[in-house]
């Protein structure tokens, strides 16, 4: 447990947050902890569907860790109650009901991933069906009496849908209340969530006093930008780093980000305090530190979190070797399952997501940065009908090397 002043604690816990409602209440709660030694209860809700976390998700999980660093108790709450319900109309294929077994299997998958960051000793994994099922139909109605329709429609997403005539099913008004009741049941001191959860978290704040409880402090973490620095990190945009990716892949991806994005990642993906990050920024600005070195330290920190310090060192060493043009024999291998037939290399790069866009493919080709089996693919003329025979090929894009297996 670090020993920090209350001011430093507030700063450490608020670092990188999008919203803190309200800092004065957080300070009062931390003050009470200092006096009584009773740790705060920090509640964070997670979707019960099978998790496959990337660094974007870890921003929130890291914020949970910051509370643990200061001696508080974190509840990793799996929202299985609603997950077990599904969509009775059968209209939504995205929300099939989960079985109890699936929920428990997903919980294990969660634990395997989040305990790379969280301290298992200070983490309580819980399931909200435990108290929500006991609520009964009567309890649900009693709960719904405590909030009104106009308040619900203040939520931006509901308001937009309502105004544009898109349907909002009545049960969508129940979910924020159910989530708020979780906070009541758990007597949460703090609830954390993504910025998109701000409304729901504040419903919990609103409801708690009507049950005679102190309102929870609400804190949200922002969406992490993806590797290209523009859109949010997501699987579908192929701009992510998965927490189970191999050290070399993680390291390589992190070295590809812009200098600007690097500071954002320092803020949201490490435990460095804002003063510590500012010191690094000043070092780079004054020319005392090379930005590549600072980026390499960031990549090593992240790899160390999900693997180990040793593996992070080795990944850094291999990255440097490749940068010097040495083959390391461990380039990522791509199994390319398309038939062996003539096709434009431009299309191939896009299909394999080795470039982010057609424009990027053209740039790389124009720059002569692409080669196949050691032969440079120069300019657009040669783009048509590049033939790849079945078997292994070596593909290079700039400094990145891939083995392609054509089947």
């Amino acid at each position: 447990v670090k020993t920090l002043t209350i001011d430093e604690q507030v700063a450490y816990l608020s670092k990188g947050c999008a919203d803190v409602v309200r800092p004065a209440e957080l300070r009062a709660k931390l003050d009470r902890f200092a006096k009584t030694g009773t740790p705060l209860t920090v509640k964070v809700g997670f979707d019960p569907t099978a998790p496959d976390l990337h660094l974007g998700h870890t921003v929130l999980i890291r914020k949970m860790k910051h509370f643990q660093d200061l001696g508080h108790r974190v509840i990793f709450l799996i929202g299985d109650f609603t997950g077990l319900i599904g969509d009775p109309t059968g209209r939504s294929k995205t929300r099939p009901p989960l079985t109890r077994e699936q929920v428990e299997a997903n919980a294990e998958t969660y634990k395997a991933q989040v305990f790379k960051i969280l301290d298992p000793e200070r983490t309580l994994v819980d399931f909200n069906s435990r108290w929500l099922s006991a609520l009964g139909a009567e309890g649900m109605i009693r709960l719904a009496q405590r909030y009104n329709v106009a308040q619900m429609l203040e939520r931006r997403e509901f308001k937009q849908r309502f105004q544009s005539g898109e349907p909002i099913a009545v049960h969508e008004f129940l979910y924020p209340l159910v989530q708020a009741y979780d906070s009541v049941f758990l007597r949460a001191d703090v609830e954390l969530g993504g910025t998109d959860q701000l409304f729901n978290l504040n419903v919990g704040r609103d409801l708690m006093p009507s049950y005679g409880l102190e309102p929870q402090v609400v804190m949200t973490t922002p969406l992490l930008e993806g590797l290209r620095g523009v859109e949010k990190m997501s699987k579908s945009l192929n701009n992510y780093v998965g927490v189970t990716e191999a050290p070399d892949e993680m390291f390589g991806k992190l070295m590809s980000i812009s200098d600007e994005l690097m500071w954002r990642y320092y803020l949201l993906l490490t435990d460095l305090s804002e003063p510590e990050i500012r010191a690094l920024q000043q070092g780079v600005a004054s020319g005392q530190m090379h930005p590549k070195l600072v980026k390499s330290q960031l990549a090593q920190r992240v790899v160390a979190d999900f693997h180990s310090a040793e593996e992070a060192d080795r990944a850094a060493a291999r990255f440097d070797a490749r940068a010097r043009g040495e083959s390391t024999g461990d380039e990522p291998q791509l199994d390319w399952a398309v038939p062996a037939e003539p096709r434009p290399i431009r299309q191939l790069l896009i299909e394999l997501r080795l470039v982010g866009s057609g424009r990027e493919a053209d740039q790389k080709l124009d720059q002569g940065a692409v080669s196949i089996d050691g032969r440079k693919v120069a300019g657009k003329l040669e783009l048509q009908q590049t033939y790849l025979s079945p078997g292994e090929h070596r593909l290079e894009i700039g400094r990145k090397r891939y083995r392609l297996v054509v089947k």
Copy 2:
């Protein structure tokens, strides 16, 4: 069981209704009954609070009877589920939660009153907590998935409150769904209710097909006008006839209504068909029947419903005797609990609700229609400081006589 054509059945069941959604479906259901002999299930929901019924309530109950007349099965559904909930915020004093014992005591009070009209053999008294409690919190959310917010806000009352910024609590959206689920559970063929229930009843119609059921036919009965023919009949307006009132009181009150209102009461408070009522109207219009006689027959019918044919005859005879100025010795006795002190007689008449308004009091006094202990209270001059000593007094207003007991 009357034998009527399907057309006649539809006419009999629709008589006096404010809405029938939809007559073609009602016809089809009656047709099926004629072929299969399986009676229709007619569901009617009642508030679980202590009933004290007046003729206004009997319009709906009589409509239930009409279905029984044709051989169908009526479910007198007591909405105890929501009654057991009450208002957790404690803001509403009008909705305290009921205990199980209160609900059952109220059910007995209902039965004592409604079985004066309904056939107990064809009436099933049921309680919706039986299936709604079993629904659970999950079931409530699943139910709420089947309807959307915009549909709810189509309800005129919700729309008005929403637009004028009056709060609508979220649970108010759950009650129509709960009521609709009752229809699903009971597989209702028809649901009856007051006009104010049209929206809720139609939610039941909307939901049933999503459970694979034929939609219920929805029928509403109008509000009955009170004795003065303008506002709706209600206790607080003192323009009502209670179903437990004594024969003479019922009879006298009914004889006080206008000829116009008499036809409305014939339509809504008797089993006469529309052709039968039209025949009476033609008799009066042609001068063959005296309207007072037709009104007396109406009053006798109503008294017979809640007492007996013999008592109705006796009430009619006593009414005639009083009309001829003969004392019958059974004038209503009023226990007046105010102190024996000088006070204006005008105020006394209003307090005792012997007149409907201050204006009516002035009229009666101006007409010299009021006398106390045989002495006429003439004009406004004598209005001030009329002293009534403790003990019995005789009060007459026109032909109506009262014994006043001043304490």
